[in-house]
């Protein structure tokens, strides 16, 4: 009984040992290359459990297939119109074909060395095909920034895949700059432009304010003119209504006029009047002599 247990234990231990020697896992984040006596035998890109001949007959080389970023050094290049431009480019890459990667570069460090040259070369070629005005332009419709990035991506993708078994998933420009001397000229232009803008802002403000004030004055005058017109019309209706009553005076115009004049004179001399009158005038004549009155028969 004891012997059976020991035997099973030994078999289990040996079995595990054998399994470890002949089995290997490939994760979803990996790809593997199996070499037999140093010669590449097969590549495995699907995750799962795999079998191999034990070492040293077959060896497994695993590659992490997740995305890595590689930032090339900041570098100056020239556009189609020979304008210098400084770019800091990066790529996001991954191992795509383990065999080609193994044959061409083997390690991440070596891959990045190769990518450095490839990026510089591609960058120079692509940027050299485009004018500076395609990177930045007063008219946004003429900007081809994303198209330029896409051209770089396609060229890098083709070259990296073919030469190194690398898939370039994305290319980006982290920094787009001009050289130090150019910044001085840019600042001069910016200052001049800003000063012009400042003047324009002030002039525009004054012009707008003047227009608003003129508009206010014009509208005020128009309104008061309209109001005066309406007032005249109101006064006119008053005069017209009054005229109806004047018709009644036609029965004896002279008497009506006399009454009107008496009213007018009362009104005119109502306040603070100084009257200078001849002593011969009625009724002051009484002061000079007694009137001679006789009863009417």
């Amino acid at each position: 009984m004891k012997n059976i247990a020991v035997t099973i234990l030994v078999i289990v231990i040996v079995g595990i040992g054998v399994l470890l020697a002949v089995c290997f896992q490939v994760r979803d984040t990996e790809a593997a290359l199996v070499t037999r006596l140093g010669k590449p035998q097969r590549t495995i890109t699907k995750a799962g459990l795999n079998v191999r001949w034990p070492a040293p007959i077959e060896r497994v080389h695993k590659f992490d297939t997740r995305m890595r970023i590689y930032e090339a050094a900041i570098a100056e290049t020239t556009t189609k119109g020979a304008i210098p431009i400084i770019m800091h480019t990066f790529v996001i890459w991954q191992v795509q074909e383990p065999l080609r990667f193994y044959n061409a570069v083997q390690t991440v460090d070596q891959a990045e060395n190769k990518l450095y040259s490839l990026i510089q070369d591609t960058q120079n070629k692509v940027v050299g095909r485009h004018e500076f005005s395609e990177f930045v332009n007063s008219n946004p419709e003429n900007i081809r920034f994303e198209q330029i990035e896409d051209e770089m991506l396609q060229e890098l993708k083709a070259a990296a895949s073919q030469n190194y078994g690398i898939n370039i998933k994305a290319v980006g420009i982290k920094q787009l700059k001009v050289n130090e001397d150019t910044t001085r000229a840019v600042f001069d232009r910016m200052k001049a432009e800003r000063n012009r803008k400042t003047e324009a802002i002030l002039s525009e403000g004054n012009a707008m304010a003047t227009a608003i004030k003129s508009d206010a004055d014009t509208k005020k005058q128009k309104l008061l003119a309209a109001v005066e017109g309406r007032a005249k019309a109101i006064r006119g209706t008053g005069d017209a209504e009054a005229a109806k009553y004047y018709e009644l005076l036609k029965e004896d115009p002279e008497f009506a006029m006399f009454l009107r004049e008496t009213e007018a004179i009362k009104k005119a001399l109502e306040k603070r009047a100084t009257i200078v009158i001849s002593a011969d005038s009625e009724p002051f004549r009484l002061l000079k002599e007694m009137p001679e009155l006789e009863p009417k028969k």
């Binding site: 001085r184 800003r194 707008m208 608003i212 004030k213 206010a216 009158i277």
Partner: protein, 427 residues
Amino acid sequence: MTEQNENQNEQIKSQEPRPKTDQAYKFLSDALRASFTLLKIIIVVLLALFLLSGLQTVGPYEKALVLTFGKISGEGEGRVLESGLRWVWPYPIQEIVRIPVEKKINLALDSMWYYERPEDRLPQGSKDRRNFGPTLNPLIDGYCLTRGERQDTGQEQSDYNIVHTKWQLTYQITDPESFFKNAYVDFADIEAGQNYADVIEDNITSMLQAMLADAVVSTLVNYTIDDVLFQQIGSITDHVKRSLQDKLNQIQSGITVVSIQLDNQAPPRQVADAFWASVQAANIKETTIKDAQSYYDKSLNEAGGPVAEELLAATEDKNTDPKHAEQLWPQLAGQAQDVIAKAEAYRTRVVENAKANADYFRSLLPEYRKSPRLVVQKIWQDTVQQVFDEADEKIIIQPTGNKNEVRILVSRDPAIKKQEDEQPQNK
């Protein structure tokens, strides 16, 4: 006989006590039994520990993937495990990968700001503060290019400006499977005190910073410096967010941009004065326009009140319903109201006067017709009397033809005299 003897001898030998050998054998046997039992216990314990090591916790802000021999297990939604206690076969059969999905992570991007040492932020005139030069060094000073103002000259314009910006990205891992498969995270980098979330954050920071910088650079070339500094900040951050999300989706990163914030933006220090003068000018312009607007409001308000403008428009627009204008006239205020009120008063006065005159005339007319002289004289005398009663000064003079001139001063008001005497002194 000899054989019989030999057998007997052997039997005798075997029946003889062998104290030392038996004891050793017994000890060995006991020891082996004990070791074996111990081994069995150890095996059972190890097996139990091995199985127990498959118990794993998925945190409240995490989701997990189970790898069976390196391959993600499960189908559909079952591929991603929610938080809780989970058991999986221990490594190397299965392993569990936890991804912090709920956590919103902030990431600052300062690479587009000019280089300055902490001392350079000291107030101007400080000993340690270093003044900036007339240029920007592309190796150490960060900035972005923005497009120039569009001018309709019909020519190609490649004018551009320089602007400094600082950004803040908030992101979240929303697709754990894509993130696990595609984003490079090296858990061997884990340091004391760090958890998996920290390692993930550290590992993808440089990639996200680069991609954000790319999104910013490619976005800002489409905007002017005024857009970045003052006018279009909301549109720009939306544009950057869209651009970054597109790029992250393109590489199947499993990351979602929660928000993008433009933390700070400034023109280059070398041209800052000109920019602030421009800002000042904009403020002056605004004040000037506001003053003009106040003048406008005040003028029209004084002229006609709140309805002035509406009334004016109604009177000028021939298509306006005249009834509407008529409704507005009574609502006029200010100067216009005064003019209208005076006109109304005039109308009333004129009509009432005319009516009163007519009534007066008609009331006197019968008497006048009967005795005209008497009536006229009566009215005339009353008039003279009233006029003389109300007059302040009455001077009666003798006609010049008469040698005996008489001047009578009647009821001279002393107050008037006094007032007249004082007036020259006041002047």
